[in-house]
Amino acid sequence: MNAPVVATEYRRNRIHSKKFALLVGCASIMMMFAAFTSAYIVRQAAGNWLEFNLPNIFYINTGVILLSSVALHASYLSFKKGKTNMYRSLLLVTLALGLTFLVLQYQGWQALTAIGVGLTTNPSGSFIYVISGLHAAHILGGVAALVVAIIHAYSLTHQVTPARKLRFELTLIYWHFVDLLWVYLLIFFTIQ
């Protein structure tokens, strides 16, 4: 973990370059989903479009992922204040909520199939499966980052060093990002 930061340049920037790089990466992920949702709009305008209501489970699940963001943020605050137990256990809570989200998304897809909207029934349904599926893949990336954070939390003594704070903040930013991304997608699916 003592990897030297190569680019320790003259630093007048308030934002750390790794954090900035992550935000740029988030922007590119956002572009990918913007492409999906605009394709959705264009395809919808072309007609032959099956209308249906989204199963409620997706709305419940939005609460789950929002809650996980709250938990992770609370964990971050506890980390900074030195409350070790709180910091560690809230990380576990976040992970549990993240995994719950994935399971509930899967059940949401099953609920969709149950109301007769299969993967290949109509593009309107296919878009839901594909977009939420790809979003779930991005959640999975966040879960991997959380697992690393948990291993760190339990194997290292609790110290608030700049490197560890940065590492936590990177995880936090990404997790908030995929969370808000889902909220955007859900609102999009609902109003379209």
């Binding site: 990897a3 030297p4 190569v6 680019a7 320790t8 340049e9 003259y10 630093r11 007048r12 920037n13 934002i15 370059s17 790794k18 900035f20 790089a21 740029v24 990466g25 922007a27 590119s28 992920i29 572009m31 990918m32 989903f33 913007a34 492409a35 999906f36 394709a39 264009v42 395809r43 072309a46 032959n48 993967l119 290949t120 109509n122 593009p123 296919s126 878009f127 594909v130 790809l134």
Partner: protein, 618 residues
Amino acid sequence: MANVTTAPAVHEDDLLIEEYGYDDHFHEHHHGDKYQSNFVTTYIFSQDHKMIAKQFLITGIFWAIIGAAMSLIFRLQLGFPEENMAWLKPLLGKWITVNDAGIGSLAPEFYYALVTMHGTILVFFVLTAGLSGTFSNLLIPLQIGARDMASPFLNMLSYWFFFLAGIIMFFSLFLNTGPFSGGWTAYPPLSALPQASSGSGAGMTMWIVSLVFFVVSVLLGGINYITTVLNLRTKGMTMWRMPLTIWSFFVTAILGLLSFPVLASAFFLVMCDRGLGTSFFLSEIFIGGQALDHVGGSPILYQHLFWFLGHPEVYIIILPAMGLVSEVLSVHSRKPIFGYKAMVYSIMAIGFLSFIVWAHHMFMSGVNPFISNFFVIFTLIIAVPSAVKVFNWITTVYGGNVRFNSASLYAIGFVSMFISGGLTGIFLGNSAIDIQLHDTYFVVAHFHIVMGVAAFFGMFAGIYNWYPKMFGRFMNETLGKLHFWGTMIGAYAVFWPMHYLGMAGVPRRYYRFDSFEAFGQFVEMNQFITIAAIVTFGFQMIFVINFFYSIWRGKKQTTRNPWKATTLEWTTPIRPGHGNWEGKIPTVQRWAYDYGKDGKEFIPQIQPIGEDESPEAH
């Protein structure tokens, strides 16, 4: 390695850096085994931006040779469709069918595969990765005064994802069913239906997987370039003091970051259509006498998604070349670049406009003609910033004390090519003229000159100019000039006649034209183009030999700043080690183009403003 060529006397640049530089305590850290401690970390899994740049360049050269060789094979088919091609059988195997009379001919499906692969390889692997990957990596840290990229590790991953993409694409060339053959744009249904053509099966699967890895490579690289430019500039290097190379790489990276994810989306939907049976792009289709299950898809939707990447992509290709040319022209004309801020604003304008013109690739795809009008107008507006740049290049050279060496000749050649190809772009940007010209050789001539040849010229200018920075040696000037004149004349000989073919309506991508009465008059012209292409390819071999020979045997660089340039990369040791500067990091005191100011030939960026010096020029 870093100390080998340090001159015994202290270099005056070092004195300046020592006096005004910024001490980041870089060399006090121990960098461990991570950097250049053994063969693998030095030459293979290197995290040093200079080595990664060379990796991108040499991989790009490898792909350029393959892509160009493919074009020769299909040009032989177009120029001499009756000739015996049996001699290619050892190379192409079953794709050459020999009839009873012993006359070999190229299999039509393989002709399409060659055209497709030529486009894919040149656009993505050579002119995106080979050009932007090479020079963004080499020049961004060196010219802004950084030790390395923001994340050297991601930078290394960027190269290896590109390498992986290349391996997969290379293997697809040897598939029994052939590589993908539906055109580099991969329009559905040829790309979305595995049974649509022989290349649409395994060939398309490998093509799409390869390009997904390529997108990852571009994104990792782009994230790094943007972050490095914004966060790691040395003290004094304000945005308005950056060389135009950096501006162009910066805007290029932003374009890539915004447009490549959209391509990834399109590919993802294609994969779903291929593998999961969805109907995003597939409408009611009969194939082999059977109706498919797919209902209600829209192939036009794919075109929208593809060209939302595709159009910025051509600027991703040409902007780095423009940046390199601006720098090379200024240095070798011994004059400041004319209209620095206008150059920057026109880069930004081109970058912005590139996102709102994509439908000009789709005028004939059934897009609403009223909507086409908007795209016509925005497309034609691109001529304005492009013209600003052209005029500024010409005024930069005008009245300059120009050194005519390989680098500056290529930069001047770039301007010529950009004008020739840009003018035909104004024809094609009009949706009415496009009715006649779309999908003809006029289009082929246009984009090959303006983004193929021109981008290559920019790349060659960059290679000849920064070769000493990469390898500490020079390329051979005589061979370089020979290469230039051969390529300049050859490229025009190949692509100029295609305009006439196109205006007569000769369609692109056709296997042969002898069954069309109207095109019979062009037989000799097609033969001429083919011969010109072979000769031009031969001239590129001179470059390849010169390049690799000079790595080991080229004239040694003995002074740090052989071109007497102002930018920071020439203040490093001749063979810069890890971290680029041996002591402190230089700080920047002035803009990048102080040539001929106050009677001095050039003033490096590290030189503080003198007391009696006239105010900054821009």
